[in-house]
C-alpha cells in the first residue's frame, strides 16, 4: 500500500498550491494626468458572449447594440438619463396634435462610404428595416406609423407615413398620438444605412453607416475592430483612433487582461471580483453601476389554480424575502417592489408597492381559504406546483431559495430544469405553467415598455403570449391606452403610477430584484459615460496614457515562488 500514501501526499501538496490565498487585485495602471482630451490610441473591450449580426435592422441583443452604437448613428439618440436628444438631426419638432414628428438633418453628414446622407436615405433605411422580408424583431414597435399595415402586408410599396419633405427634412406621420414613439424611434432599428445596403435586407451586406467609427474587420466569433470615421459630424471627435471588441472571452481572462493593460474596461466581473474591486481603495473610484432597467420576479398565471385567487398571489408577493434573495449576488441585485424602477419614474417612497411581510403573507393565505400553520406544517395549497427554471444567470439559485420561502407559507413547488427555448415556450403558452421566473429588460426607455407588452390584454395570445400571466384588467388597459396618448409628462407619470399600483396590488408578478452591472475601467480611460440605455458608451472616450505604459503587472509565472510560499 506504499504508493497510496505517496499519492495522497502529492494530491495534498497540489491542493495547497491550487487553493492558495486570494491575491489582492493588481494596482490600476497610471494615467498621464492630462485634463484636455487628446486624440489617439486604441481602446480594448471584451465580452463573454458573441454578436450575431452588425445590421441594425435585425440586431436584437444588448451586446450587438454596443457595436451598432459605434458604427451607426441615428437621427436621434439617448442621453445619459435616457431622454431623446438630437444626433444626426440637429433639431426635431412635434406637431401640436402630436401625430407628426419632423426631423431636420444636419448639413454635410456623410456615410462611411463618402456619400451624403439625406432624408431619402433615412426613409430608405426605415423602409428597409420594416420590410416584411426583413427578420426584424422590433417591427411592431412602429405600427402606429401611417401605412404600416399596408406596407408590412405587401399592399403598398412604400411607407405612406414617412415623407421626405426636403433634402434634409423627414416627416413621420402617426395615425394616432403615441407618447412613446420618440423613444422607440431612437432605437437602433431604423438607423440610416449606406446606399450599398439598398432597400432590401441582405445578410451578405458589409456593414456601413454614419456613426463615429467605421468597421475595419469582423473576425466572426472572435472580434471586431472599428476605426475612426474622420467625417463624423462632431468635429474633432471621436478621439480614439480605433477600438477592438473581443468576443467569447472568459470572465477571468478579461480580468487578467485588464490588470495587464491589454484591456481597458470590464463590465462582466464575476461576483468575487466585484467584491475585491469594490473593497480596494485604489479601484473604488474607477467603478460604477449602470442603471439600465431590467427587472426580475415571479410570474403567476392568473388562469391556473391556485393563482386564479388574488389572495394567493398577494400571499406570494409578501412571502418573498427580497433581502435574502439579494444575498445570492449582493452587489448586482437591488431589491424590487414595484414595476417601475426609479429612473423610469418609480421614485416615490410613499408608493403602495409590494413588500416582504411574513405575517401578512399568512393572513393572505387564510383569506384565500388555505390557511397554513407553520408550527404543524398543516394546511396551505395541497398540490405541488411545477416550477420551470433554466440554467442562466441566477435562476437556478433563486428557484431553490424561493422553494424554501414559499414552503413557509404552505405552497410547495417542484423545480424542473428545462432548456431556455423550452422555458420560453412554456411561459408563453396558455395553460402550460402556473408559476415561473420571469424577467424583462428595457427595450426602449419608456414606462409603456414595462406595462403594455407584459400586462395588457392586447398582449395575450394563445400560443405566443408575452403576457405570460394572462392577466387582463380593463381598468389597467384603459390607463395604458391613456398613458400612451398623454403628452404631458406629469399627467403621464400619474397614469403609470396608477397602473403600477394596480399591478403591485393584484400581483400577477411578484417583483423580486433589479439587476445591475458593475463595471471598472483603467484610470487612463477618460470620458466614459454610464448611459441609461447603452452599456459601455464609449463614443466620447479619450485615452490619457503616459508614453511608456510599461505594465508592472505582467504576471511572471513564478512557479518556484508559489511553491516556496506554500511550503513555508
Amino acid at each position: 500500500m506504499r504508493w497510496i500514501p505517496r499519492k495522497t501526499e502529492l494530491i495534498a501538496v497540489a491542493a495547497c498550491v491550487a487553493l492558495g490565498c486570494h491575491e489582492p487585485p493588481a494596482s490600476p495602471l497610471a494615467a498621464a494626468g492630462g485634463t484636455t482630451a487628446v486624440r489617439g490610441g486604441e481602446l480594448h473591450l471584451a465580452s463573454f458572449a458573441d454578436i450575431k449580426s452588425l445590421d441594425p435592422a435585425v440586431a436584437s441583443d444588448t451586446l450587438t447594440g454596443e457595436a451598432i452604437e459605434l458604427i451607426y448613428a441615428g437621427l436621434v439618440d439617448f442621453d445619459d438619463q435616457g431622454h431623446v436628444v438630437p444626433d444626426l438631426a440637429e433639431r426635431l419638432e412635434r406637431s401640436d396634435d402630436g401625430t407628426v414628428y419632423r426631423f431636420f438633418l444636419r448639413e454635410g453628414i456623410r456615410f462611411h462610404d463618402g456619400s451624403l446622407l439625406t432624408a431619402h436615405d433615412a426613409k430608405r433605411s426605415i423602409e428597409r428595416a420594416l420590410n416584411p422580408d426583413t427578420p426584424n424583431s422590433f417591427a411592431s414597435f412602429y405600427d402606429r406609423i401611417v401605412g404600416f399595415d399596408d406596407y408590412t402586408q405587401r399592399h403598398a410599396e412604400h411607407l405612406e407615413g414617412v415623407i421626405v419633405e426636403g433634402e434634409r427634412v423627414l416627416a413621420v406621420h402617426l395615425r394616432e398620438v403615441d407618447a412613446s414613439f420618440l423613444a422607440a424611434f431612437a432605437m437602433q432599428v431604423l438607423r440610416p444605412v449606406c446606399p450599398s445596403a439598398g432597400d432590401r435586407y441582405d445578410d451578405t451586406w458589409a456593414p456601413c453607416g454614419a456613426g463615429p467609427f467605421k468597421l475595419d474587420t469582423w473576425d466572426r466569433g472572435r472580434s471586431i475592430r472599428v476605426v475612426r470615421f474622420d467625417q463624423w459630424w462632431q468635429p474633432g471627435k471621436p478621439y480614439l483612433d480605433a477600438l477592438t471588441y473581443t468576443y467569447s472571452m472568459n470572465q477571468v481572462t478579461q480580468r487578467f487582461k485588464l490588470e495587464q493593460g491589454d484591456m481597458d474596461i470590464d463590465r462582466e466581473l464575476s461576483l468575487s471580483d466585484i467584491f475585491r474591486y469594490q473593497n480596494d481603495a485604489r479601484w473604488t473610484p474607477l467603478g460604477a453601476y449602470d442603471e439600465i432597467p431590467s427587472i426580475n420576479g415571479e410570474e403567476m398565471n392568473v388562469e391556473m389554480p391556485p393563482f386564479d385567487n388574488v389572495e394567493i398571489r398577494r400571499a406570494v408577493a409578501t412571502a418573498i424575502d427580497r433581502l435574502q434573495l439579494q444575498k445570492l449576488k449582493t452587489p448586482s441585485l437591488v431589491p424590487l417592489y414595484r414595476t417601475l424602477v426609479p429612473i423610469l419614474g418609480g421614485d416615490d417612497p410613499a408608493f403602495p408597492a409590494q413588500r416582504y411581510d411574513y405575517d401578512a403573507a399568512l393572513e393572505h393565505m387564510k383569506r384565500a381559504g388555505y390557511p397554513y400553520d407553520p408550527k404543524t406544517g398543516q394546511g396551505g395549497w395541497p398540490k405541488v406546483i411545477t416550477y420551470p427554471t433554466y440554467k442562466q444567470g441566477l435562476n437556478e439559485y433563486t428557484a431553490q431559495v424561493l422553494q424554501q420561502q414559499l414552503a413557509k407559507i404552505g405552497i410547495r413547488i417542484e423545480i424542473k430544469v428545462v432548456s431556455y427555448p423550452t422555458y420560453l415556450m412554456m411561459t408563453k403558452t396558455r395553460g402550460a405553467v402556473a408559476l415561473a421566473p420571469v424577467g424583462w429588460q428595457q427595450d426602449f426607455p419608456d414606462p409603456s415598455d414595462f406595462f403594455e407588452p407584459i400586462f395588457a390584454t392586447s398582449a395575450i395570445n394563445d400560443e405566443d403570449s408575452n403576457n405570460g400571466s394572462f392577466y387582463s384588467n380593463p381598468k389597467l388597459d384603459e390607463l395604458l391606452v391613456r398613458g400612451r396618448k398623454e403628452l404631458d409628462p406629469l399627467v403621464r407619470k400619474k397614469l403609470y403610477d396608477e397602473a403600477d399600483a394596480i399591478i403591485c396590488d393584484e400581483a400577477p408578478w411578484a417583483m423580486e430584484y433589479q439587476y445591475r452591472y458593475y463595471g471598472i475601467h483603467q484610470p487612463y480611460v477618460r470620458g466614459i459615460r454610464w448611459n441609461a440605455v447603452w452599456p459601455n458608451y464609449v463614443r466620447d472616450v479619450w485615452l490619457d496614457k503616459p508614453h511608456a505604459i510599461a505594465s508592472t503587472n505582467r504576471h511572471v509565472p513564478n512557479v518556484l515562488a508559489s511553491i516556496w510560499k506554500v511550503l513555508q
Partner: protein, 330 residues
C-alpha cells in the same frame, strides 16, 4: 463495397432520426431568433421567413433535396438558390442557413471542422505518445513500484471525468500559475498552438490512461510468446527485443483504437471544447442544441456520425489488411 453502402445507410439513418427528434423537442426556433421579448407578430413573421410553419415531412423533403444535389460549378453567395451551397465542381452540398448566425451552415462547419481536427489530432498524438511510453515503462519494470504507480495513475486518469481533469489543469496552470491561457483560440498561429495545449492535454491524459493499460497488457502477453523467446535466446539485447518484437505486436490493437478515437473525437469532445471555449464542432453542437438552431444541429450530427462511421470503416478495412487471419475468413 457492401460495407460502404452500409456506412452510408447508417449516416442517413442517424440524420433522419435526428431530424425528427429535433422537430419533436418542444421549443420554437423562431422565438430563439427573435428574442424573448419580441412581440408575437414579429415572431410569427420570422417563423414564416424561416419556413418553420410548414409540416414536418415537407421540411424533411426540402432538407434532403438540398442536402446533395447538382448545380452550376460557379456561383456567388448571393445566389438565391445555391447561395448557401458548398460545392465540389458540380456536386453541391447544402445545409441551409443557420437561424442564429444567418450564414450558410456549410461555411460555419468549414470554419469549425479544421479546429476540431486540429484538437483531435493533437489529443491523439499526446495520448498515443504518453500511453505507449508509460505502458512500455510499466511493462519493462512490471511488478515493481514504478509499475504499480503507473497502473494506479492510469486508473486515476480513467476515473476522472474529462471536465474534472480539465478544470484542474485550467485552475493550476492557467489561473494560479498563469503559464497558459485560460481558454479560447488565439489570433495568430503561435497563439493557436498555445491555446491548444490545455484542451489537448485534458483529452490526452484521459486517453493516455486508457492506452497505458492496453499497451502494458499487450506487451506483457507478447513478451511471453515464442518468437520473442527465440529472439532472446538468440542473444539480442533486451531493449531491442522489447522495441522490435514486443512493441510491434502491441501496436496492432492500438492502431484500431487510435482510429476509433479520432472518429469519436471529431464530434465528441463536447465537454472539453465547452470548458476551454475551443471553437470547434463540439461547442457548436452544444450551442446549436441550446438555441434550437436546426440547420446547424443537422450539420454537426451529419459530420460527427460520418466521422465515426468513416473511422470504423477505415479501421475495419485496415484490420483486414493488417491481419491475414481476418482476411481469409471474411
Amino acid at each position: 463495397m457492401r460495407r460502404m453502402a452500409w456506412a452510408l445507410f447508417v449516416v442517413w439513418a442517424t440524420t433522419t432520426v435526428t431530424f425528427f427528434i429535433n422537430n419533436v423537442l418542444p421549443s420554437d426556433p423562431a422565438r430563439m431568433v427573435a428574442g424573448a421579448q419580441a412581440r408575437p407578430k414579429d415572431v410569427e413573421r420570422i417563423r414564416q421567413q424561416l419556413g418553420l410553419d410548414r409540416p414536418v415531412l415537407e421540411q424533411y423533403g426540402r432538407f434532403m433535396r438540398r442536402l446533395v444535389h447538382f448545380g452550376p460549378s460557379q456561383f456567388t453567395p448571393k445566389d438565391p438558390v445555391h447561395g448557401t451551397c458548398a460545392n465540389v465542381w458540380r456536386l453541391h452540398f447544402d445545409l441551409g442557413k443557420s437561424y442564429q448566425q444567418r450564414r450558410a451552415v456549410t461555411t460555419i462547419l468549414g470554419e469549425r471542422l479544421p479546429r476540431t481536427l486540429f484538437l483531435a489530432l493533437a489529443a491523439v498524438l499526446i495520448q498515443t505518445l504518453l500511453g505507449v511510453i508509460t505502458g512500455l515503462i510499466a511493462a519493462v519494470k512490471r511488478n515493481t513500484a514504478v509499475d504499480h504507480l503507473t497502473v494506479g495513475g492510469s486508473l486515476v486518469g480513467i476515473s476522472a471525468p474529462t471536465f474534472i481533469i480539465g478544470l484542474a489543469l485550467q485552475f493550476v496552470l492557467a489561473h494560479r500559475l498563469r503559464l497558459l491561457p485560460l481558454d479560447g483560440f488565439g489570433d495568430t498561429n503561435v497563439q493557436h498552438v498555445v491555446c491548444l495545449i490545455l484542451p489537448a492535454l485534458t483529452l490526452g491524459i484521459y486517453g493516455a490512461a486508457y492506452y497505458t493499460r492496453i499497451v502494458r497488457d499487450e506487451l506483457i502477453t507478447s513478451i511471453k510468446q515464442d518468437h520473442v523467446r527465440t529472439a532472446r535466446a538468440k542473444g539480442l539485447p533486451m531493449w531491442r527485443v522489447w522495441l522490435k518484437h514486443a512493441l510491434r505486436n502491441a501496436l496492432v490493437p492500438l492502431v484500431t483504437l487510435i482510429g476509433l478515437d479520432l472518429g469519436a473525437l471529431v464530434g465528441g469532445a463536447i465537454v472539453t471544447e465547452t470548458l476551454f471555449r475551443w471553437p470547434g464542432l463540439g461547442a457548436l453542437s452544444v450551442s446549436a442544441l441550446l438555441d434550437r438552431d436546426g440547420p446547424v444541429i443537422m450539420g454537426t450530427v451529419i459530420i460527427s456520425s460520418a466521422a465515426i462511421v468513416l473511422a470504423n470503416l477505415v479501421v475495419d478495412l485496415s484490420y483486414a489488411l493488417l491481419d491475414p487471419r481476418v482476411r481469409t475468413s471474411s
